[in-house]
């Protein structure tokens, strides 16, 4: 580990770098709030308003935050919650229940989780409730303050909201929305989902109790703003311990921002996906190349990293196949060409392969049938071949129909890149008739 021989502000170069790395990695991976998320001011205001009404004024509400994956829904929510909790009155009073559709796969589990998060396990004890509604009502009743005049507001946050809609009868959703409509306890139900059609999933009775308030997060920024974001994400903040190092670093980032090749790389990424997560991944990889001997990010780093991110993994797999497996794929390609993409079985492929071996090949060894079957099964395991129907005992495995999941262009590309590919194999692939 780095040796700590520091006096106050004079850290060694290595320590500066590791501290910078730590800070930036935290920003990219843990998604700590960097300040406000970008371009969502109106949504932020709207949500804050809504939650303030529940927390401060005791009005029940429900809202859905809808946006594609990586658009920043959780980030937005966390930001708003942080701001809300700065109000002292709110911090003492408001309770939060965080539910996630991936974890609570059942309404029963969800209810237990709610009990746990409200710290009411002792109160509930061993009671047996007739229905979900009764249980929930009991819980909310138990939250009432000592003088029974008002109840503490509860914020229910449901992540992966669309998964809750798949539960049986949608009981949890029905009851939560029901509580938010009736005037008992001030609750706010906030759902986060990536599906635009989430309302179609709700039952009629659930939909009618929902307030139909939706906040949409559509990343509507342009490339210019994307570049700005890139610069901002990589810059070190003002309060970094070593001012001089931070300034140098930020200067370097500024020069990257102005570099033409970096702009091209970012343009390519922007065109394939706009969301922040992929940008963070790219920046993470670039950052990981920074070491004491290589203390700043250069444009070549970004180019390398971009190439790494957009590498075709199927081509990688094709590169690693043996010669026999490659021949089988070429035989399948020919079958596809001759029979217009109809499914084929192993016998047909073997037949084609035999034709090649007997007529044209000098370098490929004539392998025995069991060895060829093993190669075929390996291709099946790599999912380059897909059976048309499930594994059945009815037909023997040599006669089961399969389909090839590769395109002709992919095959030809792979042949170009294959190390020391025998020329007769290449010629066979290029010939029109097997």
């Amino acid at each position: 580990m780095s040796k700590r021989k520091s006096k106050e502000n004079c850290l060694t170069h290595g320590e500066c770098i590791s501290q910078a790395q730590r800070m930036l990695r935290e920003r990219f991976c843990h998604q700590k709030i960097p300040g406000k998320p970008f371009g969502v001011e109106s949504q932020h205001k709207h949500l804050l308003e809504l939650l303030k009404r529940t927390a401060v004024h005791g009005e029940s509400n429900s809202v859905l935050i809808v946006g594609p994956r990586g658009a920043g829904k959780t980030m937005l929510l966390n930001c708003v919650l942080n701001e809300l909790l700065e109000v002292k009155h709110v911090q003492e009073n408001v309770l939060q229940v965080q539910l996630n559709g991936l974890l609570q796969t059942d309404d029963r589990i969800a209810l237990k989780e709610i009990t746990r998060q409200l710290h009411l396990e002792n109160v509930v004890g061993d009671k047996v409730f007739g229905s979900f509604a009764e249980n929930l009502a009991f819980l909310l009743e138990a939250l009432k303050k000592g003088d029974r005049s008002s109840s503490r507001p509860v914020l229910f946050i449901l992540d992966e909201f669309d998964l809750f809609a798949h539960h049986k009868n949608q009981t949890l959703l029905y009851n939560l929305f029901d509580v938010s409509q009736s005037a008992q306890t001030p609750v706010a139900v906030i759902g986060l989902t990536c599906r635009l059609d989430v309302l179609e999933l709700l039952e009629k009775r659930v939909k009618s109790r929902f307030s139909h308030r939706q906040i949409h997060l559509l990343s509507s920024f342009r490339f210019k703003q994307y570049l700005e974001i890139f610069k901002m994400q990589l810059s070190l903040p003002e309060d970094f311990t070593d001012r001089r190092f931070a300034e140098e670093w930020n200067q370097n980032i500024k020069s990257l921002y102005e570099d033409r090749s970096v702009e091209d790389v970012l343009q390519k990424h922007f065109c394939s996906s706009k969301d922040f997560r992929s940008l963070h991944m790219l920046l993470m990889l670039a950052l990981s190349r920074v070491t004491v001997s290589h203390p700043a990010i250069k444009p070549t780093d970004l180019l390398e990293v971009s190439r790494l991110c957009t590498m075709d993994s199927k081509a990688n797999i094709l590169h690693g196949l043996s010669v026999l497996e490659l021949c089988l794929i070429i035989a399948m390609k020919h079958l596809n060409d001759i029979y217009d993409g109809e499914p084929f079985n192993f016998q047909m492929v073997h037949n084609e392969f035999q034709k090649f071996i007997q007529r044209k090949s000098h370098s490929v060894h004539n392998f025995e049938k069991p060895v060829v079957i093993k190669a075929f099964e390996h291709l099946h395991q790599l999912e380059l071949i897909k059976p048309m129907e499930g594994p059945s005992v009815r037909t023997q495995k040599e006669y089961q129909l399969v389909k090839l999941l590769l395109d002709n262009s992919q095959i030809m590309d792979a042949l170009q890149k294959y190390p020391q590919c025998p020329t007769d194999v290449k010629q066979w692939a290029a010939s029109a008739f097997g």
Binding site: M1, C29, G101, L103, M284, I317, L324, F367, L382, T395
Partner: protein, 426 residues
Amino acid sequence: MPALIQHPGYSESELRRVEEKLVCRESQVSMLLSIFGEYCVFLSVLVLLCGHAATSLVCISLSLSLSLQLPHALLNCVECFTSRLLFEHILNQLCAHSPSPDNEFSSHTRCDSFNDFIRLYRQLADLQQQKSTTYIVLDRAEALRDMDANLLSGFLRLQELVGGNVTVIFLSEIVWEKFRPNTGCFEPLIICFPDYSKAELQQILSLDHHPEYSADLRHLLSELYSSAGYNVSLDSSAVCNVSVPPWCVSAKESDTHRLWRNIEPHLKKAMQTVYLREISSSQWEEMQQKEGELHLKGLSAHAHVELPYYSKFLLIAAYLASFNPARADKRFFLKHHGKIKKTNFLKKHEKTSNHLLGPKPFPLDRLLAIFYSIVDSRVAPTANIFSQISSLVVLQLLALVGHDDQLNSPKYKCAVSFDFIRAIAR
């Protein structure tokens, strides 16, 4: 050899140990180390390592975890095929609890659902107060797709759900595109491991040879294996290494031609047996200890099945019935047959041979008709013959087509290949 893996966060000795174990993978290991960051830095990013099975994925994860002493849990998703097994294994490994006779082979705690897992993990993390990142390595991650739907998406988001430092590493042969669930998920960082090049392969194989061989000989042997086209895959190369008995490689090292002549029959035999896992490698080695030719009994049906006389004929008759069209029966089996007119239908479908499409079902009567015509002597249709047909079905050499209860006119299909028929027809 100059030190190829450098990283400031880990000590020199640890890195050297890793380097020794993992030959030819220096660049990948360096990249992984740089992504993981320094020892105590909480970082996590989800990584998917993608590459062929023989590219030492598991090896790398193991080495990194063990040599560098990072807290980790390594499990195989094919082994832990239910969510409960998966969670309990992870928790066991993280709190260093192993099932043993003392605790009656039970796991640390019972964990059924993902919710419980997250809660227990958080408790464990609070207890242990780890400063560095915990790694959870899931091998054969493609099996996760077939388990509960929330497992894959959940593990992708594990860091968010747990709220702590954990990196999940997926190891798989299948490309990431096939993993993605319908509504999308948290995209991981994908690192593709390239397969070994020929030179690297030779280097690895040469590490594995008999210690008496000199370095040149080892190199020579590796060259021979690669160039002969026996290099079907890395597994088989390893098989090649095992297959050659030491006494075969004579002291005359420089004569490649003679060396090859000595080695080739062994390689060929190995390809038929050990490569196909028809006999185990320990059996092979045993056989090699005793010099001279030994006949190996493989696992496949050819060597094992001994059928009674009439059963053989029945099976051959079944094969003929499956693969010849019924129309042609008259022609093949009767002494005097008339001319058969080729109809339009036949002319169009001449190309697709039955041999490619698979066996066709035939009724019992046809089987018996062909049987009687190929058996030389006169055979009475006793129950004996019929019971032999049933036993062929039980042995799965014949397949019954249609419903079990149909006693009236059962239909069968031949379930063996031409090679098998040839083997028993001798």
